[in-house]
């Protein structure tokens, strides 16, 4: 048996560097602190790669399946013999895969940030927060029990909050960070309720016993009924609410576009590749419970995912801020992953959706991080976020142009780029289970190709704008991560996921079905083609279409007015109708009673304080006459 206890250092090294940079960062030169943070991540990255190699290729399989290993464990709080909160490291296919994804992207982003954040105020603060985030995210994926996951879940929320509000002198950044924190916090309330219901019914937090086929969670089945759904279903719906908040699923999606106020590397790391897929990871982690004990909850997951992917894709077509386009595209792609989980079954070829979801998570991390980093390089060059102020950049930024194009092909699903393979598996899984959802996703695939190439053409083609200074290619320290991630975006699709990450850890046979693959390639090409006609050269076609769509376009441009709706609900209804009367009651009735008590006490004591006059002889007189009166009373008057 191989000792995996070193894996705990993958998690601890970023923590150590966070403390180091957080406390002593201002002692170093900015560049030095950047290099320190990056080298720390490099060590974690190497350790993760070694772990993955050991886990997938060296550790003996148990009955053909990858085992679930507890590499390290310590009991933290013990309630009963089965119900205790541990801190530890759980290794199974999805957590090992996530280790690779997180450390790779995080390392690339660290490297990129050395160049991108150059000259910014708070350079070492940025790197310490990045380390904190990496620590929390790693802790989340290796959690051995749901409570440890919840702790790190909140920690990633905090580090996301800190990083979105990194430019805390900008009002919009502060508002965005608060919005992100409050919305995800609200969702986490659901997660916590779900955890409590789950732990009350199953008496355990531990993932291994929760997902064990003979364990208490799965043995329950869907027997106990409450409002027509079983207890496990309710708890899974609440847990999914937490996941939906983190993964910006409809209707808790409103925070993600605003989160683009943070520095671009942060958007790449947190709001594209890692943190936002935590919700997907959570559902995947609890997957056996969803499938066996809570099929209704799984249906909810599927429909929420499908709706979000369509909804976000439509909005993405109308936005002009390039980072927002990417944010909506992220939501759309996460919707894909959720959908794939939702239509999946358990075991063998039935679990195709599960495998496809994890596969898409893996490939998406590469090309979406690449897209964001390219966007960062573009913004770095032209100092604007708006595609209307860009154009003709392909000559000025050759490397960025090429890598961006690769990423666009990958996300559009053109073979042999990574996105094609994973998206194809998702469509195949959807086709087998639910034709309606398959149709939606098929359309979304086309829309995705369209808006990605709209973005591409508006940035790199079209008429050249007047820039304040001639755009120039980013320094090498920024382009190297772009190139490395581009290699990832090309090759990640070749990883044989059906042999590595499956719902029951058993490999199964899977081939690309041409009946599914060819139509999806065609619709992607159709989207690309329309985008080429519209945006390759400047035409008035887009305006015409816009006018034809009329109010639908306006609604999509305003993100279907969800921000306004939520603002109306909270401000007009919650604040004015509920909070104001409650505040009035508190101020006038509750406080009034307390004030009345204090007023009475005050006036009474004002009256009687005169007794303490400071006149010694008065005290003595009272004492003597009191003594005499007592003597008189007890000796002569009160004789028994």
């Amino acid at each position: 048996m191989i000792n995996f206890s070193y894996t705990v250092f993958i998690v601890l090294i970023p923590l150590i560097f966070f403390v180091l940079l957080g406390f002593f960062g201002n002692k170093f030169k900015p560049l030095v602190s950047g290099i320190i943070g990056t080298s720390g991540l490099f060590i974690s990255f190497l350790l993760s790669c070694y772990t993955a190699y050991q886990y997938f290729f060296v550790v003996p399989k148990i009955a053909g399946a990858f085992p679930k290993l507890i590499a390290y464990n310590t009991v933290w709080l013990r309630f009963t013999d089965t119900l205790h909160i541990d801190l530890g490291v759980l290794l199974d296919p999805i957590s090992v895969m996530m280790l690779i994804v997180i450390t790779t992207v995080s390392f690339m982003v660290h490297l990129y940030s050395i160049g991108y954040m150059k000259g910014e105020k708070g350079y070492e603060r940025f790197f310490s927060f990045l380390s904190l985030f990496t620590f929390s995210m790693l802790g989340l994926v290796i959690a051995t029990n749901i409570f440890q996951m919840y702790i790190f879940w909140e920690l990633v929320g905090v580090s996301s909050y800190l990083l979105i509000g990194f430019y805390y002198e900008k009002d919009s950044a502060v508002a965005a960070s608060k919005k992100a924190f409050i919305v995800t916090r609200f969702a986490d309330l659901g997660f916590l309720i779900g955890i409590l219901i789950l732990s009350i019914t199953t008496k355990t937090f531990d993932f291994i016993s929760l997902t064990d086929p003979k364990g208490p969670a799965l043995q329950q089945g869907s027997s106990i009924l409450f409002l027509g759904l079983s207890t496990m279903t309710w708890s899974m719906i609440f847990v999914f609410m937490g996941g939906a908040g983190k993964s910006a699923m409809f209707p808790l999606h409103i925070w993600l576009p605003d989160a683009m106020e943070g520095p671009t590397p942060v958007s790449a790391l947190i709001h594209a590749a890692t943190m936002v897929v935590a919700g997907v990871y959570l559902v995947a982690r609890m997957f056996p419970i969803f499938v066996i004990s809570a099929p209704a909850a799984l249906t909810v997951v599927a429909y929420v995912g499908a709706f979000t992917s369509l909804f976000a894709a439509v909005i993405a077509c109308t936005q002009y801020d390039i980072k927002r386009v990417l944010a909506y595209s992220t939501m759309s792609q996460i919707g894909y992953m959720m959908l794939a989980l939702g239509v999946s079954g358990y075991g063998g070829h039935e679990g195709l959706g599960y495998m496809a979801s994890m596969f898409h998570l893996f490939t998406h991390a590469f090309f979406k991080a690449l897209l964001f980093l390219c966007a960062g390089a573009i913004i770095h060059a032209v100092h604007t976020n708006y595609m209307t102020e860009m154009g003709g950049l392909r000559k000025h930024l050759p490397i960025t142009h090429l890598t961006f194009l690769i990423a666009c092909f990958a996300i559009a699903g053109i073979p042999p780029f990574a996105g094609f393979f994973s998206k194809d598996e998702i469509l195949a899984a959807a086709f087998e289970n639910n034709k309606l959802l398959w149709a939606v996703e098929y359309a979304v695939a086309g829309i995705t190709a369209f808006y990605m190439f709209r973005l591409y053409y508006r940035i790199f083609w079209g008429k050249e704008q007047h820039y304040s200074h001639p755009p120039h290619e980013a320094p090498l320290v920024m382009t190297i991560p772009l190139m490395l991630l581009a290699v990832g975006a090309i090759l990640a699709g070749l990883v044989p996921f059906q042999n590595l990450v499956t719902s029951d850890s058993l490999p199964f046979e899977n081939h690309i079905e041409l009946g599914i693959a060819i139509p999806s390639i065609l619709i992607a090409l159709l989207g690309i083609g329309i985008a080429t006609i519209f945006y390759r050269k400047e035409t008035n076609l887009p305006q015409k279409i816009t006018r034809t769509l009329g109010s639908f376009y306006t609604a999509a441009y305003h993100k279907f007015y969800f921000d306004e709706l939520y603002l109306f609900i909270t401000k007009k209804i919650l604040f004015d109708r509920v909070s104001t009367p409650v505040a009035w009651f508190d101020r006038h009735i509750v406080d009034g009673m307390m004030n009345g008590v204090s007023y009475v006490t005050n006036s009474v004591s004002g009256r009687i304080k005169g007794f303490q006059s400071g006149q010694l002889q008065q005290y003595a007189w009272v004492f003597v006459s009191g003594a005499i009166a007592l003597a008189l009373a007890f000796i002569y008057l009160w004789t028994l």
Partner: protein
């Protein structure tokens, strides 16, 4: 064995002296005169001790010893009191008990 004067007479004299001391304590303003009233009170108690000792238990010496100790305590008390009075006088330039009332409320 003591002839001629009954115990009650001693006690009555001591009581009168005691309450004269009380009266002085209650009406005098000057701190030193209050201290003198206090000496009267202690002295009346001493008379009681001695009288009880002599007339009721002549075979023992408790009353006398207690008187000795009371005198010692009185001496200690007088010295500390006078130190305090001098200190107060130095700060406030008067030792009128009615005007030393900084500690009220």
């Amino acid at each position: 064995m003591f002839e001629g004067v009954p115990l009650t007479w001693f006690l009555i004299v001591a009581t009168i002296m005691f309450f004269i001391g009380i009266y002085g304590f209650l009406v005098r303003k000057n701190l030193i005169t209050i201290l003198m009233s206090l000496e009267l009170i202690l002295n009346s108690v001493n008379i009681n001790f001695v009288a009880f000792n002599k007339l009721l238990y002549p075979q023992h010496m408790e009353g006398m010893f207690f008187t000795v100790f009371v005198i010692a305590v009185a001496a200690a008390e007088a010295s500390v009191a006078i130190a305090i009075i001098i200190n107060i006088y130095r700060r406030l330039i008067n030792i009128d008990v009615e005007r030393i009332d900084e500690m009220k409320y």
